[in-house]
Subunit: 193 residues, 2 copies
DNA sequence: TCTTGTGAATCAATTCACAGCT
DNA sequence: AGCTGTGAATTGATTCACAAGA
């Protein structure tokens, strides 16, 4: 979150930023910001604040975003399409490096300079390219199967859009984005007024 | 999350489910499940577990999902397209009730039995239809402006896909889905091994 | 015997508050 | 005078552990 806010601050020409400003924009407490940032080292200057560019660099380094990570996208349906065409990954440290689907009519479609591959080639391509992150945008009923294959092929992090809880070994990290669940949470709060 | 797991359990014909089973599937502690569910009332039976259908009904009621909430979708780009065509909202308690975009060539496109409207008509339509939830799938630089207009029109919950932190009054709830941030979190953990 | 519901205990996150540096 | 960095205090969430019900 701070990475995002700092990108924005830098683009607006800010040279330094205080924990209070950063906290306001991020919607958290200023002490929280300072405590969080102190875990990276002591990059602030008392009486002044944090140097925006320097802090952005340190956070990027800590997050491992000084390179662009290759990510595999599995599932080229509605959501897959949207993700494949999403322009925002690059500046945040990622690039879609391979796309897969099972449907024959989707295989061979081109997106930028990528070609959609068949799911059968998943293992081969992932291992060849050394890809360890994947976005799972397939229907729920097939998500676990695909996840298992991803893991066998060396994937260690999965961003899961299927509305199922994936079962994975300890060394694999999963984050789940469930659009309906987000709406449910919102509607619950709304009701409470 | 329990709502989702219970839908799945019910579809597989489970009649009762224990807190331990529910916890395993959800990836949390069994005591956590019982404490969470106890907030809804005492719907479990000692020695047996929870009645799946009954519990699903109670959770649905608590979450306000016994009806299908109308949701406005603003932004009919890649992501907007994907969301508009997403089939999963219905069973989770929502329906896209209106779609808006600024681009003339998108206005008038049809999705199911909806027609994409122009952003200029936002206020009129939202008020007429009594819509209080919105999905924001517009570029970051315009997200705050659109959010302000949504709020004026009576929207009280926003699901924000734009990679910016929205500034909203206290009575408005926002949830943010930042795809790049999810990947960043994953890559951070990956690096740590 | 099995499993819930829940106080008590533990663990973790957040915020306060201020010394100390610029 | 302004703002960081951080112990201490507080608040909140999670887990334990067990009495009690089916």
């Amino acid at each position: 979150m701070y990475h995002l806010v700092l990108i924005d601050a830098a683009s607006q020409g800010a040279v330094t930023i205080s924990s209070e400003k950063l906290a306001d924009i991020s919607g958290v407490n200023a002490a929280q910001v300072r405590k969080d940032l102190s875990h990276l080292g002591t990059y602030g200057t008392r009486g002044v604040g944090y140097d925006v560019k320097h802090l952005l660099g340190e956070i990027s380094r800590e997050l491992g975003l000084t390179q662009n990570w290759p990510v595999a996208l599995v599932g080229f349906g509605n959501l897959g399409h949207a993700l494949a065409n999403y322009q925002g990954f690059d500046e945040r440290g990622f690039r879609i490096a391979a796309i897969f689907d099972v449907e024959k009519k989707k295989v061979g479609e081109r997106v930028g300079d990528l070609t959609v591959g068949h799911l059968d080639d998943l293992e081969k391509v992932l291992e060849r390219e050394g890809i360890t992150m994947a976005i799972l945008a397939v229907p729920g009923w097939t998500a676990q199967d695909v996840a298992d294959r991803l893991i066998v092929s060396g994937v260690r992090s999965i961003l899961n859009f299927a509305p199922v809880v994936l079962n994975v070994p300890d060394e694999v990290w999963v984050r789940k984005v469930d659009l309906s669940m987000e709406l449910q949470i919102l509607s619950f709060y709304s009701q409470r007024k």
